[in-house]
């Protein structure tokens, strides 16, 4: 099963990016192969609806869950519609996020935790 983590950098010790739609990278971890794929977010600087576009792109990556900091209502709706689990409010490194994920130490979000446009100008 694959999980995507919003990340400020390309390394496993990068901090989890608190933005969703406008984060620079997603690190996609596959617990079957232990492989970590770097996915630069092509929608980070899109003018409108970056959360929606980012969520849509992630649906094509075959992921089952995402771990992020903040996530707004539009991106949440897209991921929810595609049955992707959302873990929000995570603070720490990607390594810590993966560790928690492997141990089942997380809870799925049932609603977005910020309003639209929260990631602009951060």
């Amino acid at each position: 099963m694959k999980v995507a983590i919003s990340s400020t950098g390309t390394e496993i010790d990068s901090e989890v990016d608190q933005r969703f739609g406008r984060c620079n990278y997603f690190l996609i971890f596959d617990d079957k192969t232990n492989n970590l794929e770097v996915f630069p977010n092509p929608s980070a600087s899109t003018s409108n609806g970056s959360g929606i576009e980012t969520a849509k792109n992630l649906t094509k990556k075959g992921i089952k869950a995402i771990i992020c900091g903040n996530i707004g209502p539009n991106a949440f709706q897209v991921l929810d519609a595609e049955g992707i689990d959302i873990v929000n409010g995570f603070k720490g490194t990607v390594r810590e996020a993966i560790k928690n994920f492997k141990e089942g130490n997380y809870s799925k979000a049932s609603s977005p935790n910020v309003r639209t446009h929260s990631g602009i100008m951060r």
Partner: protein, 277 residues
């Protein structure tokens, strides 16, 4: 004459100039186009006589006819339509009502429905005809409300348009079609920077303009040097005065306490009018 009052930078005194000019003139149409934060009526205190909803058209998809081809989502530049494996999804608040999705739909699956995004109000204070508009909370597109407000512009009366701050769509929508634009500024680096951006925009739009310096006496003389170089008329300087600020903070105009500035505003107005006609 349609006179718009704009600034670039927020908080320089658009509302101060607009409401005090309107009250000084007495017989005029005042339209508060800052639909995200209208506050002219705090000062005008008009009796509101009516209001009218403003709607935009957004697409709706007939699931019977939709082939899930994704052409509409592909066309949409604003991510208002996305095609997901689970089906097409519409985000109405991102839609700009361009109509492109309906044009590219191969199977005529898209129709329009109205969505309310705000409202406009009309009122009266003595001989001032007053209008303002309100964008609903959570809506991102102020321009349709500004358009609705501008439909109210009369031909037999002078009109003052109080612009939203900035130089983005809402500013452009408001000043478009104005006979003249007053740029209210202050002598600070921010005021100067944003003034230059607004000047660029107005030049491109071919709208004649002049500058009113508010809170004159603070800051430096960069703006005056710039205006001289660019041959932009400085129409009026309103002095920095705590009593003006105090009146503003109470929601009161300054025309009774500062009759001289009130007269200068009227003079400025008629100078502009004689200049453009």
């Amino acid at each position: 004459m349609i006179l718009s009052i704009a600034s670039g930078k927020g908080g320089t005194g658009k509302t101060t100039v607009s409401v005090n000019l309107a009250l000084s003139l007495g017989q005029v149409q005042l339209i508060d186009c800052d639909v995200e934060e209208p506050n002219d009526n705090i000062f005008i205190k008009a009796d509101i006589e009516g209001s009218q909803d403003v709607s935009v058209e957004i697409p709706q998809i007939d699931p019977e006819r939709c082939l899930n081809c994704g052409a509409c989502a592909n066309f949409c530049n604003f991510n208002a339509i996305v095609d997901l494996p689970s089906g097409i999804k519409i985000f109405p608040s991102l839609c700009h009502s361009c109509g492109g999705c309906k044009l590219v739909c191969q199977n005529d699956a898209i129709s329009w429905k109205d969505k309310k995004i705000g409202y406009i109000r009309r009122g009266k204070k003595d001989d001032i005809l007053f209008y303002d508009g309100f964008l609903d909370v959570g809506e991102s597109r102020p321009t349709p409300i500004i358009k609705s407000l501008k439909y109210q512009i009369g031909t037999d009366i002078d009109t003052i348009l109080d612009c939203p701050p900035g130089t983005s769509c809402s500013f452009l929508e408001t000043v478009n079609g104005s006979d003249f634009c007053i740029l209210v500024t202050e002598q600070t680096p921010f005021g100067f920077n944003d003034l230059k951006i607004a000047v660029e925009a107005l030049k491109k739009m071919d709208i004649p303009f002049g500058v009113v310096i508010n809170r004159d006496g603070i800051g430096d003389d960069e703006i005056e040097i710039f205006c001289k170089k660019e041959t932009i008329p400085i129409l009026l300087k309103i002095p920095y005065n705590k009593d003006i600020a105090k009146l503003y903070s109470k929601g009161e105009s300054f025309i009774d306490c500062f009759p001289e500035i009130s007269r200068q505003l009227v003079y400025t107005f008629y100078s502009i009018k004689s200049m453009i006609t």
